[in-house]
């Protein structure tokens, strides 16, 4: 028992009526400017990607050889056209659907894997924990780009397989964060209290421990989206990812390489989209890290 907790114990009833940990976290998040900016950008991006292609009067696959390489903003093509005369904006939005979908799905899969591994390792500790965390370390040691490309070279690329490949290289960070958090909470008295009641391991892990790791999990998941979007861009840029004519931000960049001098906008816009999405998710992650800082609630 530290003197700080003793001091806190004798303070008069600090009643913060009706403030759940969640509403206090939201209060802290709102004060984080970059995170609010990032959230705004992502919101706009998601809406644009969903509704933009329906509104814009262009077909992303429509080839119009007379209007090739129209520089922006020209002929109603706000972002210009590509080497086949296709509208770049609508293609960017269609590509955004693919890239963001892969980003989110890869995040969900790697968070599920990482959380399961982390909770199991943190709760059981001992041999089980050591073996699991050694596996995490081993996978982490492997350069992830190499792993990504090695896997992509052998597996036929599709949205699903690319998602799974990215998830397979991205769950370790979540596992580490979760394991550390669970291990720190494992021997708290409230866990002992649950065990004293005959609670099963599953109950303790899912009901008692997991909610206390929600903060770090959400933060890691947000950063994982950024990482996954970047990974997709990387793989597709190198030609192992999403294949033409389906557009993703990565393969649009790949395609733009040949025209860097003559039509730089073909590279600039997809590059900007990737940067915007990735930095926004990173900002949100930072904001969430501050907002959900476990120390603020765990006394």
């Amino acid at each position: 028992m530290s003197s700080a907790t003793v001091a806190a114990a004798v303070l008069p009833n600090r009643r913060l009526a009706g403030t759940s940990p969640r509403s206090r976290a939201w209060g802290r998040f709102k004060r984080h400017r970059l995170a609010m900016f990032g959230s705004g950008v992502i919101l706009v991006l998601v809406f644009a990607v969903i509704f933009g292609p329906m509104i814009l009067p262009f077909d992303p696959l429509h080839i119009d050889l007379r209007h090739r390489f129209a520089p922006p903003p020209g002929n109603g093509h706000l972002f210009g056209t590509d080497q086949l005369g296709r509208d770049l904006l609508v293609r960017l939005l269609m590509a955004g659907r693919i890239s963001l979908t892969i980003g989110f799905m890869a995040m969900v899969v790697s968070t599920l894997i990482g959380t399961s591994v982390g909770v199991t390792a943190g709760y059981y500790g001992g041999l089980v924990g050591t073996v699991l965390m050694r596996i995490v370390d081993a996978v982490l040691c492997f350069p992830s780009v190499f792993l990504l490309l090695a896997l992509a070279a052998f597996i036929k690329p599709s949205i699903l397989t690319i998602t799974l490949i990215i998830a397979a290289t991205g769950w370790m960070e979540v596992a580490r964060v979760v394991q550390a958090q669970i291990k720190a909470l494992r021997h708290r008295d409230f866990i002992l209290a649950a065990e004293m009641l005959g609670a099963s391991g599953r109950y303790v892990m899912t009901r008692e421990l997991l909610p206390n790791a929600a903060g770090p999990i959400i933060v890691a998941a947000t950063l994982t989206v950024a990482r996954a979007i970047l990974a997709e861009a990387y793989v597709s840029f190198l030609g192992y990812g999403i294949q033409a004519p389906t557009a993703s931000w990565g393969n649009m960049l790949n395609n733009a390489q040949q025209y860097l001098n003559s039509a730089p906008w073909l590279a600039i816009f997809p590059g900007l989209m990737i940067t915007l999405a990735v930095t926004s998710f990173n900002f949100i992650g930072d904001g969430l890290r501050d907002a959900l800082d476990a120390r603020m609630d765990l006394t």
Binding site: M1, T5, V6, A8, A9, V10, L11, P12, N13, R14, R15, L16, A17, T19, S20, P21, R188, D189, F190, L192, A193, A194, E195, M196, L197, G198, A199, Y203, E208, P211, N212, A214, D297, L298, T299
Partner: protein, 340 residues
Amino acid sequence: MSIMALTPPPIPRDGPLLRVDRLRQWFSSGGFMSPRLTVRAVEDVTFEIGRGEILGLVGESGSGKSTLGRAVLRVTDLTDGRVVFDGQDVSTLSKRQLRPLRARMQMIFQDPFASLNPRMTVGQIVGAPLRIQNPGISRSEVEARVGDALRTVGLADSHAERYPHEFSGGQRQRIGIARAFVLAPDFLVADEPVSALDVSIQAQVVNLLMEIKRKLDLTILFISHDLAVVGHVCDRVAVMYLGRIVEIADTRTLFRNPRHPYTEALFSAVPVADPSRRRQRILLKGDLPSPLAPPSGCAFRTRCRYAIPACAEAVPPLAHIGGGHQKACIRDDLALQPAC
């Protein structure tokens, strides 16, 4: 519905509620590459607690009180020895086999901040025992019984929706007490239940505990280092030193006529209000020896002012000296200072 109504009719049985027989609880660390170290946190402990009795457990920090409390509740796997609860040997029961017994034995923790899950509402915390023990229980019944329990400990029904951080230390401890009593147990381990609280609210919480004890006819193992509280609430007191019980007697006998030098030293460290009766303070020399390498013979001999060479030879057994008084000291010729 009061908490009384939840109490199952007492089954009249003979014998003590809890019997502990040559209990050992060791912790090993190291292993494969590093040298294996063994902490003998509880070593060869034997005692009983009668039905409805409060047994105090005192001793310096690190003497193994909490470990003993957890071992008798079978939180840990015992290294050796037996724990018999209400006639049933629970020493080797598995987690699953222990589950139905869990409703009958509960614990109150020292730290009111670490013992409540910060992500759960008070209602979820106090309701958890009911849900875990009877998975089919209805929501309304949980709510009703949680409300009862909260009112019994001096809180309101409406507190069920709040989170632990909204409460003061004393209120949190009341929540912990409500959780321990919602299943109406028979046996309770209270591990320093008030030592983290402000002195002004300690008495309130102790009184609440005693009130509930009377209602439920509880048996309590009351761990504390506050001899004043122990003297006030306990029927009998056991003194622990370096993993062993060195003296045990009913409270009045122990305070008036301590027979182990360590007990005398503990008493002398307590300040006396009345200056005309000032005692000689016996300072304990040095620190508690490491439980990794306890001294040979009597473990207290490195700090005992009455030690003689024979004390190093064998561990003095906890011997009966009449009237249920037991002590583990080879010297019978000592005139020790009482506590009062």
